[in-house]
């Protein structure tokens, strides 16, 4: 049975351009602000003329991953790289814009779909391998990481990118109504993990309680929904822990867990 491991994680958040930029205490650092926004670097070129902020964040997260892994884009190009994309709500701003007819031109509508973000990422980096898009918070990202390990195990890819993007600023008023779903500060984020064949066996199961890494990511980053497990991975790696790891993530009352352990 093929094992796997996380080779690198790229993180972009409202706190900065890496996991190192996360404050020790997100609530204190937010100083009462409900949303910590992030403005991604605008990718150049005509192709990005209509790309949303979420799409730009997705591209920025993969670029951060490549920097972290010291890889060039050619290392992930082609049909041997799977792309697993997860978000709870990064389609909210484009949906809102379309509903309010701020941007109801012909080409805007496709950007209301959650699939627009991985599409722009796939186009930018030439990714044509297996493709999965999951909707949900941190539990869905655990599902997505597990999907990545399955795709590797089955030989459907040689590497998998697990990408998560969350934005909040354009829908801050709506999030304020859903207080039972999220706890401020809501921190806009994008993160991408590179999962490759490795020595560890991945075990996927419901988790009865948050792992220490889930709690750490929550404390350091704030509410990042689908990005949280990837930020947790980045924090573990920043602390020098690239070995066996247990991740958990909760969303709408379900907590999923994924443990990379020795065979």
């Amino acid at each position: 049975m093929t094992g796997s491991e996380v080779a690198a994680v790229g993180v972009v958040t409202g706190w900065g351009r890496s996991a190192v930029a996360l404050p020790p205490d997100a609530v204190r650092a937010a100083a009462g602000r409900r949303v910590i926004a992030v403005e991604p670097p605008r990718a150049a070129g005509e192709r990005f003329r209509r790309a949303t902020r979420e799409c730009q964040l997705g591209v920025a997260a993969v670029e951060a991953l490549l920097r972290e892994a010291s890889l060039g884009p050619e290392a992930i190009r082609g049909d041997e790289t799977a792309l697993v994309y997860v978000t709870a709500a990064a389609y909210g701003s484009s949906n809102r814009a379309f509903i309010r007819a701020i941007a109801s031109s012909t080409l805007h509508f496709p950007y209301t779909a959650p699939s627009a973000v991985p599409a722009e990422v796939a186009i930018e980096f030439g990714l044509t391998g297996p493709y999965v898009i999951l909707i949900g918070g941190a539990a869905a990202t655990i599902d997505g990481l597990w999907q990545a390990t399955l795709l590797l195990r089955r030989g459907q890819c040689r590497r998998a990118l697990v990408l998560a993007v969350e934005t909040f600023a354009e829908c801050e008023d709506l999030w304020a109504r859903g207080r039972w779903l999220v706890r401020p500060p809501l921190v806009e984020s994008a993160a991408c993990a590179l999962v490759v064949p490795g020595p560890w066996r991945a075990t996927y199961a419901p988790a009865p309680a948050p792992s220490p890494l889930e709690a750490l990511a929550r404390a350091r980053a704030g509410e990042t929904l689908a990005c949280a497990p990837l930020i947790a991975l980045a924090l573990a790696r920043a602390a020098g822990d690239a070995g066996p790891v247990t991740l958990t993530g909760e969303w709408r009352g379900r907590r999923a867990g994924l443990a990379w352990e020795a065979h």
């Binding site: 041997e80 792309l83 709870a88 709500a89 389609y91 909210g92 949906n95 809102r96 379309f98 509903i99 309010r100 109801s104 012909t106 080409l107 509508f109 496709p110 950007y111 209301t112 779909a113 959650p114 699939s115 627009a116 991985p118 599409a119 722009e120 796939a122 186009i123 980096f125 990714l127 044509t128 391998g129 297996p130 493709y131 999965v132 898009i133 999951l134 909707i135 949900g136 869905a140 599902d143 597990w146 999907q147 399955l150 195990r153 089955r154 030989g155 459907q156 040689r158 709506l174 999030w175 109504r177 859903g178 207080r179 779903l181 996927y204 199961a205 419901p206 709408r252 379900r254 999923a256």
Partner: protein, 388 residues
């Protein structure tokens, strides 16, 4: 890359709600060539170029509360549970649903001034899946897949993964989407909707019409299933990486998905008895899909009966691929392949064996079902019918 064969997963039963009705009405409508497209009545369409669609005019039983997407899912679940029981511990029953739009209509209402937290939460694209899980008392994994109009295929693949990994003993899987102002405005603006009828693979085809529906199947590990209507033998998805809205002109992602799904199922082109095509009736889709099938299936492609049911129902988006998978299994059981409603004049560029004019007597054992969606999403399912 070395590819591992995956264990087949049983499809125990199916339940749907469509413009044609429940599973029985869906099947009889398909084989009688019923055209379920009508003028949309549930919301205003007078300002749109096209106001037609496959609208469900009345549900058998409307529940209080719950958005329309949830109502459709509850109706499909009623149909499913009339045919099978969820006989497993609630924490071992999962829900995996595919959708292109989720609860977007609730988002429209929230932005129109409804301040309730419930409305806001329902606007999230995974809201209806959680509503169905609550309704059914399923406490296992509840996942939402959104690979656009391929969602109803990807969801079956993810459900099969949950079963193979022993993360659940039963999974209610499928797809859904509703007709609403949001999506009608979008496709209208894209000029994707036809003012004619939907004509998959026809020389005169000029676009799609949308439909709504929910389609669910109950899935179990094959060794655990006491009865079944068929098996999911293989599934794969692949990205195009070429365009946010249009398919890759060469159909490379679709070709890749078909090849991997066939390999996973350990079947070759010679084993495929029937192809349920995505067949949206857009000029681009049908030509690309035909070319891909010829490339991947080789000489066998022209010998395999093929259809598209979108001429009858419209494009039901997240529900489409699950409905098509159910149609494949019913074709095997009943020994009849429904014809492609709307296809009358062959397009020289679409030169495969489309079933036209009338249903064809055939009992496909292995079926291939293909799906494409916005964002370069492609998916393929390989299904085996459980013939009577």
């Amino acid at each position: 890359m070395v590819r591992l064969r995956t264990e087949p997963v049983a499809i125990v039963a199916a339940g749907v709600v469509t413009p044609l009705g429940d599973v029985d009405a869906f099947w009889s409508g398909l084989v009688t060539g019923t055209d379920a497209i009508s003028r949309i009545e549930r919301f205003p369409v007078d300002d749109l170029r096209v106001g037609l669609g496959g609208e469900i005019k009345k549900l058998k039983r409307e529940r209080r509360g719950g958005c329309r997407a949830s109502q459709l899912l509850f109706a499909a679940a009623d149909d499913l549970l009339a045919r099978a029981h969820l006989d497993a511990a609630p924490r071992r029953v999962g829900v995996v649903l595919g959708t292109a739009l989720g609860g977007v209509e609730e988002g429209e209402r929230a932005l129109a001034g409804d301040p309730s937290a419930r409305r806001t939460a329902a606007a999230l694209y995974d809201g209806p899946a959680h509503a169905l899980a609550r309704r059914l008392g399923c406490r296992g994994p509840a996942l939402t897949v959104s690979t656009a109009c391929a969602s109803g295929a990807t969801s079956l693949g993810v459900a099969a993964d949950l079963l193979r990994a022993d993360a659940a003993d039963l999974v209610v899987a499928g797809g859904y989407d509703i007709l609403c102002r949001f999506v009608m405005r979008g496709f209208d603006a894209l000029r994707s909707l036809t003012r004619d009828r939907v004509r998959p693979f026809d020389r005169r085809r000029s676009g799609l019409l949308l439909g709504e529906g929910a389609a669910l199947v109950l899935m179990a590990r094959d060794r655990d299933a006491r009865r079944r209507i068929g098996r999911l033998l293989g599934h794969a998805s692949a990205g195009d990486g070429t365009h946010v809205a249009a398919p890759d002109p060469e159909g490379r992602g679709l070709a890749s998905a078909i090849r991997i799904a066939l390999a996973e199922a350990e079947v070759g082109p010679e084993d495929v008895d029937f192809v349920s095509a995505h067949g949206t009736a857009t000029p681009l889709n049908d030509r690309i899909e035909t070319a891909v099938l010829k490339r991947v299936l080789g000489a066998r492609a022209g010998l395999i009966p093929m259809n598209s049911i979108k001429g009858a129902l419209g494009h039901t988006m997240g529900a489409a691929a699950t409905l098509e998978a159910i149609m494949c299994l019913l074709a095997s059981r009943e020994g009849v392949v429904p014809h492609t409603v709307g296809l009358e004049e062959r397009d020289p560029e679409c030169d495969l064996d489309y079933v036209t004019t009338a249903p064809r007597a055939a009992r496909p054992r292995v079926s291939l079902s293909t799906s494409l969606g916005f964002g370069g999403c492609n998916a393929a399912l390989v299904l085996e019918g459980d013939a009577r």
